[in-house]
């Protein structure tokens, strides 16, 4: 199972890099999204994949009964997803603003904050 997940992560990273090499910043953003999902999967896989029950403590007990899954990577991934969600939502709004203000999504054309090219 870990091997399959490793291949999946590899595939996601490859797709992400491909997208991030594009000039359009929207594609770059999508690539970044894939990359962050790959990172989440890395955390998930490093918690060791086990087929256990949800780590919930039944009523009246002090510890979970039987074999339960590792809860920590789940908590970490959840936090990372939440934060990633917020950041990407912001980045998407920003990219949209950039498109409507600057009229382009090509990173090569975004030079307003750069020094002016020397006159020919």
């Amino acid at each position: 199972m870990e091997t399959a997940l490793a291949f999946l992560i590899g595939l996601l990273v490859a797709a992400a890099i491909y997208l991030m090499l594009a000039r359009s910043i929207l594609r770059f953003l999508f690539g970044l999204l894939l990359l962050s999902n790959a990172a989440n999967l890395v955390i998930f896989a490093s918690g060791r994949l086990t087929a256990g029950a949800p780590p919930l403590i039944p009523e009246g007990a002090d510890a979970p009964v039987g074999f339960v899954a590792n809860a920590l990577p789940q908590a970490l991934v959840l936090t990372a997803i939440v934060i990633g969600f917020g950041l990407f939502a912001f980045a998407l709004v920003l990219v949209f603003r950039a498109y409507s203000e600057l009229g382009t999504l090509e990173s090569d054309d975004m030079r307003i904050a750069e020094p002016r090219e020397p006159a020919e």
Binding site: L56, E59, A89, L92, V93, F96, R97, S100
Partner: protein, 139 residues
């Protein structure tokens, strides 16, 4: 969008989703649920409303701006953490109050953890809506 069916349906949906989100919030201490998921569900209700009736009327229905809700939520969450100060515990230590406690029944358990969760609910609710409204109004 101008669809009568959606407009009529969304009013009921908003109410349902908000009630369900509060249910999820309160259920969250021992079972799946909690402030974050509750806040998301509540926000979805208003997002549907904004899609069907426009952001202007969604903002009106909220009364407070979503940013204010998020800021208040942050304050509430902080207060939940600060409640530990009253008993001299470390920051964020859970404080419990059992109303109507008897020998074999814990009564109604109220905790600072719940206050924190309510804060999270408001933060998520407010920030999602402010982002979505901003996007809707841009386009």
């Amino acid at each position: 969008m101008n669809s009568l069916i959606l407009m009529a349906g969304s009013r009921i949906l908003v109410a349902l989703l908000v009630v369900f989100s509060i249910f999820m919030l309160l259920r969250g201490h021992n079972e799946p649920g909690g402030g974050f998921i509750g806040g998301l569900i509540g926000a979805v209700g208003f997002v549907i409303y904004a899609i069907s009736c426009g952001t202007a009327s969604a903002r009106e229905a909220l009364r407070l701006t979503p940013e204010t809700i998020a800021a208040v939520g942050l304050g509430v969450a902080l207060f939940g953490g600060l409640m530990a100060a009253f008993t001299g515990d470390a920051f964020f230590t859970g404080q419990w109050l059992f109303i109507g406690e008897t020998e074999d029944d814990k009564g109604l358990p109220l905790s600072s953890v719940l206050v924190f969760d309510v804060g999270v609910y408001l933060v998520v609710f407010g920030s999602i809506l402010s982002l979505v409204f901003a996007m809707e109004e841009e386009i």
